[in-house]
């Protein structure tokens, strides 16, 4: 006992001194602008908590690692879980077979409810039937608006990617765009392709697809620049994710083009760009709301037997457009990473 306490008591003193010295040194070169300090001025509102018995909900999505969109979905789900006294188990895999395994894993854990995305509905058929046999309610979110009923899900929250694309195409018609490029950051991604196809379906001008290497931002930038040089008649660049929209703005400048930029999805930098007019508008399917509603719905079903849409109609979370007219309202939430 004594032996173990002595070295410990001697240890911290030099450590503390070094740490203090480091802090002092670092403080000497602190930034007077921006940074965490500025962010912390925006306070976070705390919500209440339900006193219903603890339950477990599994959320299984087809997220690719590091995708900002899914991060927002997850945050919404976490917010609902915290409020409803739910233990949330999150897992994700872009590969349909692996996603099905993760659902099976949740069934084996005997969770109280499962929320899943139906990016590839056929691959999920088996495990959804399995959940039904085990008596676990399953709700759908995000993708699968045309399949959830067939597969016997309780309810659905979200919006099909192609519907979002169609809405964006319609909106572009009103801005007078004639020729657009739709920038896909991951070749072969089903959801992204659906977005661009949706845009092409309703857009009245010409639309072209451009593939970029989404894991290498400088390459994304120079490829968009190259395309704008190659075809100077392009008047709008449509990107499928907020970070790529910010890069597209730079490319437009580099190419000396006058093209405008519109995008799917939001993040806080993007909201600022809409505020100062460098980006025309963003179409938002409210990912946070999808995650929140999915978890909250399972809680409601367990505790009060409710289900939205009566098992017949999906609950649509979008398309919500964010442009100059409403961006200020969205800005404060986006700064917290919840819109």
């Amino acid at each position: 006992m004594d032996r173990s306490s002595r070295p410990r008591s001697r240890g911290p003193a030099p450590l503390v001194a070094v740490a203090a010295a480091a802090v002092l040194t670092l403080a000497g070169c602190s930034s007077s602008h921006g940074g965490k300090k500025a962010e912390e001025e925006a306070a976070n509102a705390a919500a209440g908590k339900a006193d219903t018995p603890r339950m477990t909900v599994a959320l299984v999505t087809h997220q690719a690692p590091g995708d900002t969109f899914w991060d927002t979905v997850r945050k919404g789900a976490e917010a609902a879980a915290a409020k409803d006294n739910v233990k949330l188990v999150y897992s994700a895999d872009p590969n349909a077979g692996n996603q099905a395994n993760l659902v099976q894993n949740a069934i084996d854990q005997k969770v109280d409810g499962i929320a899943i995305t139906l990016a590839k509905p056929d691959a999920m058929k088996g495990v959804i039937a399995g959940a039904e046999r085990a008596g676990i309610p399953v709700v759908g979110l995000n993708s699968g608006v045309s399949d959830w009923k067939k597969l016997g899900l309780l309810e659905f929250f979200g919006q099909d990617e192609s519907v979002a694309g169609e809405a964006l195409g319609d909106k572009l018609n009103t801005t007078g765009a004639k020729k657009i490029i739709c920038v896909i950051q991951e070749q072969g991604n089903v959801g992204l392709t659906q977005r661009c196809d949706g845009v092409k379906k309703t857009f009245k001008g010409t639309a072209e697809t451009l593939y970029v290497n989404g894991t290498d931002m400088p390459s994304v930038g120079s490829t968009i620049t190259a395309k704008l040089k190659q075809d100077s008649s392009v008047d709008t660049v449509v990107t499928l994710g907020a970070p790529f929209a910010m890069t597209a703005v730079q490319s437009v400048g580099d190419a000396g083009s006058k093209a405008k930029v519109a995008t799917f999805d939001l993040n806080k930098e993007l909201v600022k760009a809409v505020q100062n007019g460098t980006i025309e508008f963003a179409v938002d399917q409210q990912p946070w709301l999808q995650g929140y509603l999915a978890v909250d719905a399972l809680w409601l079903y367990k505790n009060n037997g409710n289900y939205s849409g009566g098992g017949e109609q999906p609950v649509l979370t979008g398309p919500a457009f964010v442009d100059k007219s409403n961006v200020d309202k969205v800005a404060e939430f986006a700064a917290k990473g919840t819109r």
Binding site: L26, C29, S30, S31, S32, H33, G34, G35, K36, K37, A38, E39, A64, P65, G66, D67, T68, D71, K75, Q187, E208, T209, L210, Y211, N213, G214, T215, D216, M217, P218, S219, G221, S222, T223, T225, A226, K227, K229, Q230, D231, P243, M246, T247, Q250, D254, A255, G256, N267, K268, E269, K272, G337
Partner: protein, 358 residues
């Protein structure tokens, strides 16, 4: 513990002076043949062929600003391809180089933002972190004797996961926050991500850095003792050690050089785009390695040049952007890229065979 202590003195012996004079056993071959036998000649011709091809098929490429854009794309690959090539000449691989770029950018961004410090503090911390990652890779490879393929595959996975997890833990997002309004950003942007005017064309500064680093690497490789050590440890480690080359030092420093490159490109990414996505960088390591191999470096080590990877990176950038300038069906993009690269490598192979046959 004790094992590494025992191993230490054996490897860190000062270098004995190796034989340097040419001994006249090989007759001087005519100049054109000697030129053709240089590792970078094949790739030079390949790059030239690709350039001419796109100048003909894609009219926008003839524009100066398009060329600046292609050079920019090439430079971000090329700056990393240089240390990767040197490491390859030294007989090792680094599969973690792609995600290490992002690790470095994330470190600088998060240190500056979360502690609200001048961004230069973040930049310095990121440099230290990048060099440490390189040193760790090198140390593991040298001390364990495992293939660098395995060791750096491990670091690749560790960094890929850590990039995501640490970013999420610290910022509670999967991307870092915008640091463009913080102190020192403007200065750093000037160094890492500005552009300047050349006869009305905006050229990115990374192009200059790329060429400066290439010149430096060429000089080191061909004119210094350290350059000889690189060739020696890549050719045959044991005989290199026998003639007094500090193998451990050379290999670890080469890995650290890759760390330096990752830091530099990471800083460019950060100051060019203000934020960093934690999932980026995966797959880039293969592009760096490809640029080095197309540039005439042997996968087995001991052979190559620093100027070859410059053309290799240029060829990659040219093909990547040229396909877009030419306006070809984008669904085929990756397939075109593959065919072009394979074609270029074949030209490379054919030239070097033809040159060394006689």
């Amino acid at each position: 513990m004790s094992m590494s202590q025992q191993a230490q003195p054996a490897v860190d012996r000062p270098p004995a002076s190796g034989p340097k004079r040419t001994d006249g056993r090989t007759a001087r071959r005519p100049l054109p043949l000697r030129l053709l036998a240089r590792p970078e000649v094949g790739v030079f011709l390949g790059a030239l062929a690709v350039l001419v091809f796109f100048l003909i098929t894609a009219p926008p490429v003839r524009d100066g600003s398009s060329m600046a854009n292609i050079l920019y794309q090439s430079s971000t690959i090329g700056i990393m391809a240089l240390p990767v090539a040197l490491l390859m000449i030294g007989g090792e691989f680094d599969l973690s180089s792609g995600v290490a770029v992002i690790s470095s950018a994330l470190t600088a961004s998060m240190i500056s933002y979360q502690l609200t410090l001048n961004v230069w503090t973040g930049v310095i911390v990121a440099l230290v972190a990048s060099l440490a990652i390189g040193a760790f890779n090198g140390w593991m490879v040298v001390k364990t004797g495992l293939p660098s393929f395995l060791v750096t595959l491990g670091t690749f996975l560790i960094l890929q996961g850590a990039n995501l997890a640490v970013t999420k833990l610290v910022t509670s997002n999967v991307a870092t926050d915008d640091i463009s309004d913080m102190d020192g950003f403007g200065q750093a942007k000037k160094i890492f991500a500005s552009s300047f005017d050349v006869g009305g064309v905006q050229v990115k500064i990374t192009v200059v850095w790329w060429l400066v680093f290439a010149a430096l690497a060429t000089w080191v490789l061909l004119r210094t003792k350290y350059g000889n050590w690189i060739f020696a440890v890549g050719g045959n480690k044991d005989s290199a050690r026998a003639v007094g080359v500090p193998v451990t030092f050379t290999k670890i420093s080469l890995f650290m050089l890759v760390g330096f490159g990752a830091w530099f490109v990471g800083m460019h990414n950060l100051f060019a785009f203000n934020t960093v996505q934690s999932g980026e960088g995966v797959g880039q390591e293969l592009i760096y390695i490809a640029a080095a191999v197309i540039g005439g470096c042997l996968l087995t080590g001991g052979y190559g040049s620093a100027i070859g990877p410059v053309f290799g990176a240029f060829m990659f950038g040219m093909v990547q952007q040229g396909i877009v300038y030419a306006g070809w069906n984008p669904d085929w993009f990756k397939a075109f890229l593959g065919v072009m690269l394979l074609g270029a490598v074949l030209i490379n192979l054919w030239v070097s065979r033809a040159a060394t046959r006689r």
